[in-house]
């Protein structure tokens, strides 16, 4: 084998090895920043909303429109102002996010809960969050010992959740975000 071929192969191998590392990092990047597209989308949406706020009527029509235009599964997202994720803002699970895709989210200490709370003040099946038929997200207390609080008030009936309103369960606070 000529010296030249071997040198080319040697450098070629290193290049291929590094290419793999770079591709792997790109995959991580798309994994991490996959949500950035959403922010861009929601920012655009926010911009649109600002435009719309000038025309109140249009905005009002927008709010009236959703029930018709929504699809069934995970449909709520086509609404304006529909939350797309649930974020834990306080407590041991701070930073955990769950994508809202039209599924029911259960919270509690039970191991099969969607979000397993490690919190002495939480019941094993504490609360659940689900979209109603109009795609509005509802929080319902499942008869917990210490109660579920939306903003400051203790829940007694299933209650619609507005964006960014803190839902407190024991030491854990969660909220819905776009």
């Amino acid at each position: 084998m000529s010296e030249l071929t071997l040198t080319v192969m040697r450098l070629g191998f290193l290049a291929v090895l590094w290419l793999f590392v770079i591709v792997a990092v790109q995959v991580i990047r798309s994994d991490l920043f996959g949500t950035r597209v959403t922010q861009r989308g929601s920012r655009r949406e926010a911009g649109r909303q600002q435009q719309q706020q000038s025309g109140r009527q249009q905005a009002a029509r927008q709010q009236a429109a959703p029930p018709q235009q929504r699809g069934q599964q995970g449909g709520g997202r086509q609404r304006r102002n529909a939350p797309t994720k649930l974020v834990v803002t306080e407590g041991t699970l701070t930073g955990t996010t769950v994508a809202l895709q039209g599924q029911t989210i259960t919270l509690g200490r039970a191991h099969d809960s969607t979000i397993v709370l490690d919190d002495d003040y939480a019941s094993s099946r504490h609360a659940r969050i689900y979209p109603d038929r109009d795609g509005q997200w509802i929080v319902e207390d499942l008869g917990s010992t210490n109660g579920t609080y939306l903003d400051r008030s203790r829940l007694t009936t299933p209650t619609p959740i507005s964006l960014g309103a803190p839902i407190r369960i024991g030491k854990t606070v969660i909220e819905l975000r776009k």
């Binding site: 192969m9 070629g12 590094w18 591709v23 597209v37 235009q69 086509q78 955990t96 994508a99």
Partner: protein, 483 residues
């Protein structure tokens, strides 16, 4: 309505990104890449050594490809939402390890040694067993939270695994470290590698229950949180255990690994920096204490402090009761002669390290033949595996899964650090194996199982939240209202 008419498609794509699509095709593409690279290396070794493409190229490539394919199908079937990177990264390391071991098999110098065995076919067999183990973990472990039930059983299991090498008739003393057991008909097995995983399960289950007591019931003293005596109990027990391993099995690496893993998990569980301070102090005290009277450890420390002197003593054949190791110096020379870009596959002389060139010192071969650039890439690949493990821990929705993922990836990171640091002369050399790369059945099997568990946790973490099957009204009736 007009403003929203074009948004649904846009929205579905972005929501898909948040809701973690399965990404199995990304994994497949990376996996193909991860098989092609070792095949390229294999051809490269053959061309450099004998001037022709090695005859086994096709079967080797097909074999590795088949194994990777089986693993991929297993993931597709049993863990469809798992992290797309873990499997390709591990496959690449395993493939490169195979090539490197095969390359060392070709060395005339190593072939002339009395206890030479062709290691590559065996390693390929171990890899096949490892992949089988990986798929078995995915198949049998449908939910990692099941492991939580076996918290104390796994503590007992880990202790048994660690004690096994000391049982007379079962244990085997190889090169001064008693960490192997002989299984008749199968060869030797290193139970410590498996104990690593079992112990992580115990720590995760234990700390999940006890972490509030450990984090909150403490007194503040000089800026540090001092835990109560009874909460200190478990950490003392683990410390004593790792010291005992060090004394009786003279295995510095394993004891460092277990204690380090416990401290990492304790820190993650309690968020108290004081545990790290305590951990470092205790491991320093333990290591210095044991090193001062254990001759096997002393040899390692001497070879670390002044490798050149040990090399000269070894060459001169000085017999003063202690064993002088020339390997530490030889490994450094291998790295040095590799330089930045390396000598190229098959053109180095790392076989001069003689025995253990394909196990403990395999990184030196990479250092010589791939140079700094190659070793950096390999270390980065290890780093990426750890990163994916930590990422899995962050994404996990249950505390047990979080702790287990952190523990396993922490143990993996520590093992890479301990081996790479030892070979490069940063810390005293310990007899541990570079995960996936080094020759050794137990290590390959245990690390594939470890990756399997991480993939299982990441599948649970990235899976879109399932709809509870049961009727919500039925759930209501199960709740007991105390008030």
């Amino acid at each position: 309505m007009s403003s929203t008419s074009n948004s649904p498609t846009h929205h579905t794509s972005t929501i898909g990104a948040i809701g973690a699509p399965s990404r199995r095709n990304t994994e497949l593409a990376l996996l193909v890449f991860a098989v092609v690279i070792p095949v390229f290396a294999y051809a490269n070794v053959g061309l450099a050594l004998s001037g022709e493409v090695p005859t086994g190229l096709l079967s080797y490539g097909l074999g590795l490809g088949l194994l990777a394919g089986v693993a991929h199908l297993g993931v597709r079937k049993f863990a469809p939402y798992a992290d797309p990177l873990l499997l390709p990264l591990a496959t690449l390391l395993n493939g490169l390890g195979l090539v490197c071991i095969w390359r060392l098999d070709q060395s005339k110098l190593l072939q002339s040694l009395p206890n030479f065995v062709t290691a590559a076919p065996r390693q390929l067999l171990y890899t096949a067993l490892g992949i089988a183990m990986f798929v078995a973990v995915l198949f049998f472990l449908k939910d990692h939270r099941v492991l939580q039930r076996y918290t104390y059983i796994s503590m007992f299991g880990a202790l048994v695994l660690l004690i096994l090498p000391l049982v007379p008739g079962l244990g085997a003393d190889i090169y001064g470290a008693k960490i192997w057991i002989r299984v008749p008909g199968l060869g030797s097995l290193q139970p410590g590698e498996f104990a690593k995983i079992v112990l992580a399960v115990f720590f995760a289950g234990y700390l999940m229950v006890k972490r509030d007591a450990l984090a909150l019931a403490s007194r503040r003293f000089m800026g540090l949180y001092l835990p109560r005596g009874r909460d200190l109990g478990p950490i003392l027990v683990v410390w004593a255990m790792s010291i005992l391993i060090l004394v009786f099995e003279t295995d510095l690496g394993t004891s460092l690994l277990f204690f380090g893993m416990f401290v990492i998990m304790l820190y993650v569980a309690t968020e108290r920096t004081s545990w790290i301070v305590f951990g470092l102090l205790m491991s320093a005290v333990g290591a210095v204490g044991v090193a001062s009277f254990e001759s096997h450890i002393q040899t390692r420390v001497h070879a670390w402090l002044d490798p050149m002197r040990e090399y000269k003593l070894s060459q001169a054949g000085v017999q003063d009761g202690t064993l002088h190791s020339e390997q530490a110096m030889q490994a450094l020379w291998a790295f040095g002669s590799g330089g930045t870009m390396g000598t190229g596959w098959g053109q180095g002389h790392s076989d001069l390290i003689k025995f253990a060139a394909n196990s403990d010192f395999i990184l030196a071969t990479f250092g010589e033949e791939l140079g700094l650039a190659g070793v950096m890439a390999i270390l980065l690949i290890y780093g990426l595996i750890v990163e994916r493990g930590v990422r899995t821990a962050l994404a996990a929705r249950d505390p047990f899964g979080k702790l287990l993922a952190i523990g396993l990836s922490g143990a993996f990171a520590l093992q890479v650090f301990v081996v790479a640091g030892g070979v490069m002369g940063l810390i005293p050399l310990t007899g541990m194996t570079m995960p996936f790369v080094a020759y050794g059945g137990s290590s390959v099997l245990a690390n594939w199982a470890l990756i399997g568990i991480l993939i299982r946790i990441s599948d649970t973490a990235r899976r879109p939240a399932p709809t509870p099957a049961s009727n919500p009204d039925a759930e209501m009736t199960q709740v007991v209202r105390p008030s």
